[in-house]
Symmetry: C2
Subunit: 594 residues, 2 copies
């Protein structure tokens, strides 16, 4: 039998279970007793602020407190002499790595969840998502993802609308493509800048806009020598920054470069195989060899998938080994590593087709195939399949529980059993990555395939629903996590839009229609294209510079807050100075004068 231990083990009658700690089956009584005492001791220090906080915030605080239970006098975990401890070591982390605690997760609140689902996705209607309710239930990070998904979908609509006639009327004139590409580039800059303003609006309302990295506690995996944090004056593990820098620049960076090189190498083998298969088919022309034509693509797709998985593990290991103090720094470094590799894996073959093979028809074909299949596969694999499996499992659990004798806690017991078997949501990383790659498909080669935006919009309208389903029904409820913006993803999207200026200009310059205008001098053509590209890039930067990142009313409110906090500090210091002056008036006066 599993033992569930609520972190809020109060004796009150209105007890609401919030967080589940799943222990291993054979945990010793002594260990349980010790763990319970440590948690309760921690709890006694705090205030009872239940009324002021949302359920998600309470769960976040419990998680935070659990992660910051640190060893003081203990040399090992009671009952497990092999699980060594040293002062400052996170207890929860040692319990998890020793296999004593299996997992810690917050419980769903079925009533609130039902209410949220009703306004979110179960009743099909064209309306905005209830972002504030999502934030209340799942926290800021997830609400920001859904906010961005919605914003991005709406922002794509103008591109999709303008792209449609190109498909319907089979427009092939280069001047029309130039117009489309130019619109696209300016548009992508503007929407990214406007998102920053919208995001600042939301997070100001939620109170997380001013959240600073500096005030974050160290992440649980962070280790170092116990010392005094010079900013907060609190005791915590310290790790010198230069060591981290050395690890990043001397180990991680070369490793990533090596992986990129390897990925390109594999791609070249794939294209060689393609040529070889084509040659074989043309020579023999039999049925058997026409099947062979698909073999290189299939092998390449499988190899890419394997490489992505392996690389992801390596990136997680390396980033963890870099020993970042803050969760946000860890996430940023991990995202950067994975992003660069995924970008190359997904787009390298398209770049090769576009700029080496210069086969626009093949490019359009590959682009359409990649975009549409990846979207369909993603939605099935990510939401509907797990949901179906989850439902089947749910029915089984219900039967089991009904077979037991019904007692008071049957519902809670059933809920815990059900939810602890649910998958764990690993963060917004994969969801953002999907959007990022989609943005790449839409913008990088937009002048070759203007229909991409329309497909992206269609996909995202259903993606909102399937992601919502995933969050509510497929995964364990994630711990809420505050955040001020979408972080490194903003930079990633902006970089993509800069790259897309370059690729689109190059594609237009390569098109036969444009080349027909300059039949005698290719050099002149290239010069003109380069000049246009530079002008567009300059315009992009001027636009990004001219649009303020925060709306005016938010700027005003922040300035007011800053003014007030500095005034408060001034008053406090003035009080100190006055007190000092009273004690030793002459000496401190002299000091100031020198």
């Amino acid at each position: 039998m599993k033992v569930t231990l609520s972190a809020l083990d109060t004796s009150e009658s209105s007890f609401t279970p919030l967080v589940v700690i799943e222990l291993a089956q054979d945990v010793k009584e002594e260990t349980k007793e010790w763990l319970k005492n440590r948690i309760i001791a921690k709890k006694k220090d705090g205030d009872n602020n239940d009324d002021f906080l949302t359920m998600a915030e309470c769960q976040f605080i419990i998680k935070h407190e659990l992660e910051n239970l640190r060893a003081k006098g203990e040399k090992m975990i009671p009952g497990y002499p092999q699980a060594k401890l040293y002062p400052g070591k996170s207890l929860l982390r040692r319990l998890l790595t020793s296999g004593i605690v299996i997992q810690v997760f917050p419980l769903h609140d079925s009533e609130a969840l039902k209410k949220l689902e009703d306004t979110w996705y179960t009743r099909f209607a064209l309306k905005y998502q209830p972002i504030d309710s999502i934030r209340g239930y799942f926290g800021e990070t997830i609400a920001l993802y859904f906010g961005f998904l919605e914003y991005f979908t709406f922002a794509l609509i103008p591109m999709a609308v303008i792209g449609l006639p190109y498909y319907l009327f089979v427009w092939e004139d280069y001047d029309k493509y130039v117009i489309f590409a130019s619109f696209n580039l300016i548009w992508s800059t503007v929407i990214l800048e406007v998102w920053k303003r919208g995001c600042a609006n939301m997070t100001y309302r939620w109170g997380t806009l001013l959240m600073k990295r500096k005030f974050e506690e160290p992440r649980p995996g962070f280790h170092g020598v116990l010392g005094i944090n010079s900013i907060t004056g609190k005791e915590e593990p310290l790790y010198p920054s230069y060591k981290r820098q050395l690890r990043i620049y001397l180990v991680s960076l070369p490793f990533v470069c090596l992986c990129l090189y390897f990925s390109l190498y594999v791609m070249m083998i794939y294209f060689d195989m393609e040529v070889w298969a084509l040659g074989l088919h043309e020579n023999s022309g039999s049925e058997w060899t026409s099947v062979l034509l698909y073999v290189p693509s299939i092998i390449y797709a499988i190899v890419i998938e394997i490489m992505n998985r392996l690389y992801r593990y390596a990136a997680e290991f390396l980033t963890s080994w870099e020993n970042h103090r803050l969760e946000s720094a860890y996430q940023n470094h991990l995202i950067l590593k994975v992003l660069v590799f995924n970008f190359l894996n997904c787009f390298a073959s398209l770049f090769y087709i576009a700029f080496v093979l210069k086969d626009m028809k093949l490019l359009r074909q590959s682009l359409a195939t990649l975009l549409i299949t990846s979207q369909i596969l993603n939605q099935i694999m990510e939401s509907f399949l797990p949901y179906w499996l989850q439902r089947k499992h749910g029915v089984r659990v219900k039967r089991k529980v009904q077979a037991l004798k019904a007692d008071i806690d049957a519902t809670l017991y059933e809920q815990v059993i059900l939810e602890k078997e649910m998958g764990t949501y690993l963060g917004t990383f994969d969801d953002y990555l999907e959007l990022f790659l989609q943005f790449g498909y839409v913008s990088l080669f937009s002048c070759v395939y203007p229909l991409a935006a329309a497909f992206a919009v269609l996909n995202n309208f259903t993606e909102v629903n399937s992601d919502a389903l995933k969050m509510c029904r497929v995964f364990k409820r994630p711990f809420s996590e505050p955040s001020a913006n979408i972080g490194v993803w903003q930079l990633a999207f902006e970089t993509m839009s800069v790259i897309s200026v370059v690729t689109n200009c190059a594609l237009i310059g390569m098109s036969p229609q444009v080349n027909a205008v300059f039949p005698e001098s290719k050099a002149d053509l290239i010069l003109i294209v380069v000049a246009v590209e530079h002008a567009l890039l300059a315009l992009k930067f001027i636009l990004a510079f001219a649009i303020p990142d925060k709306p005016r009313h938010i700027q005003m409110k922040l300035a007011r807050l800053e003014f007030e906090s500095l005034e408060a500090l001034k008053q406090q210091q003035m009080k100190l100075v006055t007190e000092n002056l009273k004690e030793e008036p002459t000496e401190s006066g002299k000091e100031k004068a020198t």
Copy 2:
């Protein structure tokens, strides 16, 4: 007889004159009395903090207080019914525009000045400037200029050293130029990033790093309807931001574009005249026509100078009309306007020679002539000539004063008479502009003329001294002005270094040596050059991103300050909440829960 009225008109014996207000000769007694009372009334409100402040800081405060003397009940200036006032109008500004007050300026402190000069420039020695003493005497803005000038000079030395052998050994191989240009580009990025760190270091020490635009008082010329500033809660004139935006984008921007077009048009006329003069000379070949060859250059130089002056007035008028609330915003908009125009005026002809005429020999010649003559002229016109005039004037004043009967105040009287006739230092704008154009000459065409950096270094070593002389002996002492960094100039220098990547890549691509490597395909050559340029630009941005703007120890200290000020605010608010709870415990509890 002029009447001097010290703002610190105290009856103490240790009276140090700080600021001079020069009134017109025929000012009525009644007006003098009123002004004196207003100034003294203001003074009584404040504390006596003399011991805590440097002389420059005292003068800054006096200026600030004088500028913020605003009309309350008065409908006009007493004694001058035509000088109308309305509530909130700055008195000093109306006094100045009515010609009642001629000028307000701070006095030099001959003892401190002598001490400063001794450590700064009078004893020739290779040593760092006493930046902290300069800051103490002239304030942060001027100290930052001298700090930047020194830093920039030292930063140019490696470029100068590497550039020398190109001149000495007449290296003409393109690969060597490629190396020089590449080094140059990376170097210019790094020095600008490192400057930011050095600057943060200095201004942190001076306590101005955290200075925020938001806490600045409105500039004296700012007008609007009197209202409550929603940030500080103080009463001050307000002007809606959208009106300012309209003025900027609908009037100023088109005007600047028109001026730029006109400047280019004039340049084209100049080149036409050149061609015409050359043709005339070749046809006739007489002595008379060889003199004619210089006529277009002379006319163009004069026209450029006239255009610069006229444009400067227009820019100042327009920026003032835009009605910026803050002095810093006014300065930024003015600098941007003047900068763009000066850039075009100075470099457009060089660009034309480089990329349209493609005459590298002429480019090198023009570059050298422009750089060297502008540097020599600048130093003479800016410092030595005014200094010489100033000395002659000084001797005359001394004789006059000695002719008068000697009384106690003779020295002070002589000093005031002397200094009030000195020129007014109009801010660091022209000094920075000179450095900016120098940076342009050094970096934009560095691969054509590697010696430019050496000339720039030589010039700057003497520039430090001549600028110091100018500050100490030629101009009236300027009011000290706090500042956190070099502001918009950082952006200007960074933009210049981005443009220089483009120009240098283009110049290398155009060189005959590189063209000889690709004799058959010009298109390939261009593509390679463009690829290299993009790679360099990407590297530049990655470098700028990877180098933190503030040194680590400053980051830590700022984080600590922020943590403390937020803690102080928290405590203050907690106190308020506790007090509120005591008053009406149930109601406020309910509010929080909803």
